[in-house]
């Protein structure tokens, strides 16, 4: 991954993880209704240390170490958010979001629509693979929640977006699921833009301009796509990479714009293939940009397999840069 090969950090750069922490600090200082809730987030600072230092700064009233109770965490956050608080819940690993599936989909997602109850809350946590985490510390469950009306979903790829989207998520008046890629936590860095850096939810970002083939992707595979684009440039294939950043709402206009520009589309995600987000993007492009396409829409995704632990197995199941290169070559040659 190109992120791992970046040169020595420039002055003022902070990591993706530090960027999230900085956003939490700034938002808690700005608005006293913001508080954090989760397992081992206080005294220990969280399993990945995202919340380190929050307890010392804001006290245990606003940085709450909870029982191991994902249903209660999400439910209590919803209740507090109805009353005007802005809770930020940590899932120790995003895989455990499944434990709160009922509370998120039946309660939180429907609250505004069925009962006019606001749910300004964030559920955040370390997601994704490439870290030898095995089946329960590597998942990307975003597609299941994309299917549920009433939830917003963001999944940043860069440190600057991680901070800006976290601030936007905390300020949003609806529930935002904030996926953090744990492989990127300490591997990607940025100098934070000055001032109150907020990245609006629902806006994609061109990560690399190109003219021959578009890659639409998000999170870890943005970096693999950029690495592939670099290799393909040497072969004379110009690749445009669109980083979605937000999955719900999705930036349809940015998607249609890049497709109409290059007329060839590859969708890449780390999540499994069947029922994945690539299928949804394919349908939207097909319904709206059919006449602009010069080739079938292709997908590079994980195989439909629970993520295994051993390096040769994990590497085989998850999408790799060489897979993306191969798929783009096929599209360019069509």
């Amino acid at each position: 991954m190109s992120a791992a090969k970046q040169p020595t950090p420039a002055a003022g750069e902070i990591t993706y993880l530090e960027a999230i922490r900085e956003a939490l600090f700034e938002e808690m200082a700005r608005d006293e209704q913001v508080f954090c809730l989760g397992e081992d987030i206080g005294a220990f600072g969280g399993a990945f240390k995202v919340t380190e230092g929050l307890l010392a700064r804001f006290g245990e009233q606003r940085v709450i170490d909870s029982p191991i109770s994902e249903i209660a965490l999400v439910g209590a956050a919803a209740g507090a958010s109805h009353m005007g608080m802005r809770p930020v819940v940590e899932m120790q690993f995003i895989d455990f979001l499944a434990n709160a599936y009922d509370m998120l989909t039946n309660y939180v997602a429907t609250a505004r629509y069925r009962a006019f109850l606001p749910c300004p809350m964030v559920v955040r946590g370390p997601s994704g693979g490439y870290v030898r985490g095995g089946p329960f510390h590597s998942q990307n469950p975003e597609a299941g929640f994309l299917h549920t009306p009433g939830l917003k979903i963001v999944y940043p790829a860069t440190a600057a977006d991680a901070k800006g989207l976290m601030k936007a998520a905390i300020r949003d008046d609806d529930c935002v699921l904030f996926f953090e890629h744990k492989y990127l936590y300490r591997r990607v860095k940025d100098v934070m833009p000055a001032g109150d850096h907020v990245v609006p939810i629902g806006q994609a970002r061109i990560a690399r301009e190109g003219t021959d083939v578009s890659i639409i992707t998000y999170a870890s595979t943005v970096w693999k796509s950029l690495e592939a684009a670099e290799q393909l440039a040497a072969e004379g294939i110009s690749v445009e990479v669109l980083d979605l950043r937000s999955l719900a709402p999705m930036d349809d206009e940015a998607i249609f714009r890049t497709v109409k520009k290059t007329n060839r589309l590859l969708i890449v995600h780390e999540d499994t293939r069947t029922g994945g987000i690539a299928g949804e993007i394919t349908a939207r492009v097909s319904e709206t940009c059919f006449e602009w396409l010069d080739a079938p829409i292709l997908r590079v995704t994980a195989a439909d397999i629970p993520l295994p632990y051993a390096p040769p197995l994990e590497d085989y199941v998850l999408p790799q840069t060489s897979d993306i290169v191969r798929a783009v070559r096929r599209l360019a040659a069509y």
């Binding site: 209660a72 439910g75 209740g79 039946n106 309660y107 629509y113 069925r114 917003k152």
Partner: protein, 391 residues
């Protein structure tokens, strides 16, 4: 297991886990005024009569969905909610129409909900008594719309009351669950979380003998639900749920305990569900004679009328005036509900999110799309209805 229909004594025995419940010098209900005691009867009578009106409307097919009764349970809902202040927040369950009325829900709202009217509290989005009103702090009726997955409101109310604690507000929460909901993970996680956080929350378990068709002994091996309080380290209080004053007494103790900053109490109210889960349920699983025995020997309204007449000296004129008032209010509410119409279909697209405030209409829902629509191929072809796309 046949259930006895003769629970007449007031059972206010306390079970204290690791804590002691403060001694109560007198029954809290002794402090209620004569007017308040008559008001308790008004709320119970209103609950029963409103449900009977709903049965009529259901048979006339004016109720769109199912009908859920609380016949025989009016005292537990009314007596417990009567222990709350207006600034407190309550989360009802399906047998708690009485509690909602006490907290400010109106008969016309309930009727419009059941009849799926466009100006019902949820604008036709939700069923029956699944509605609420929490609005701004201190200026509201303070009840929360329930959802069908059972036990879920316990964690939510843990969060509502956590916010009271965090802001130092003098407010208490009360959440109702049935005997069945105590078997869910959400119940366990919610009451445990609230107990650890010392949230000002009262958890009321309405033990009415059945969860749908499942009797209590198939729901739990615990002998009684207050036994669970010990495991959560909170006080457990139990009362005869068909004795409205006994219900008020234990709930008021629990509410005062929460208001004083001592945290959660689990209250078990023992009652009996005389109707089925919903109106369609023929109760074939109930042992013969059980329902009739409870109706004859342990009806909460009949029992309270005896108290009103013999202990309060209520006159027939006073009781008759309550009956007349209830009848008039329900008739007026029915007339008003019948005058309102169904929701506009396009309202279905509004309010999933704060931003955007409206979802985009699907193109195949366009009225009179015609051939020209396809021929023009506008920008949103095939996905959204570009012509009607909201700004």
């Amino acid at each position: 297991m046949a259930r006895t229909g003769t629970r007449t004594g007031t059972r206010t025995g306390t079970r204290t886990g690791t804590r002691t419940t403060p001694a109560i010098p007198a029954r809290p209900s002794d402090a209620l005024t004569r007017a308040q005691k008559l008001e308790l009867y008004y709320w119970m009578r209103l609950t029963r009569q409103l449900e009977e009106r709903l049965v009529n409307l259901y048979r006339q097919t004016k109720v769109v969905g199912g009908l859920f009764r609380s016949l025989g349970q009016e005292a537990d809902a009314v007596g417990s909610c009567f222990a709350l202040e207006q600034r407190d927040v309550m989360s009802p369950l399906i047998r708690n129409l009485g509690a909602m009325l006490v907290k400010g829900a109106t008969p016309v709202e309930v009727l419009k909900q059941y009849m799926a009217r466009g100006d019902s509290p949820t604008r036709g989005r939700e069923l029956n008594i699944h509605f609420g009103d929490i609005g701004e702090a201190g200026a509201t009726r303070g009840f929360l719309g329930q959802i069908s997955p059972l036990g879920d409101m316990v964690p939510v109310m843990a969060g509502v009351t956590l916010s009271f604690k965090m802001r130092g507000e003098d407010r208490v929460g009360l959440v109702y669950v049935g005997d069945g909901a105590t078997s869910t993970g959400a119940f366990h996680e919610g009451i445990n979380f609230a107990a650890v956080q010392k949230c000002p929350l009262v958890v009321v378990v309405e033990n009415n003998g059945y969860a749908y068709s499942t009797p209590t002994h198939k729901q739990t091996a615990a002998k009684q639900f207050i036994d669970k309080a010990i495991g959560y380290g909170v006080p457990g209080l139990q009362a005869d749920g068909n004795d409205v004053l006994a219900v008020y007494d234990v709930t008021k103790q629990a509410v005062d305990h929460a208001r004083a900053g001592h945290g959660v109490t689990l209250v078990e109210l023992i009652t009996y569900r005389r109707k089925g889960h919903a109106e369609h349920d023929n109760q074939s699983y109930v042992p013969p004679g059980e329902i009739e025995r409870w109706a004859a020997e342990n009806d909460p309204l009949d029992r309270y009328l005896v108290v009103l007449r013999e202990q309060l000296g209520a006159t027939e004129a006073e009781i008759g005036a309550i009956h007349d008032r209830v009848q008039r209010e329900i008739d007026e509410a029915t007339d008003e509900a019948e005058r309102s119409g169904p929701p506009e279909p396009l309202d279905a697209l509004r309010g999933v999110y704060a931003d955007p405030p409206q979802e985009q209409p699907l193109w195949f829902r366009r009225e009179a799309a015609g051939d020209a629509y396809g021929a023009e191929r506008p920008e949103g072809w095939g996905t959204w209805n570009a012509a009607e796309k909201p700004a």
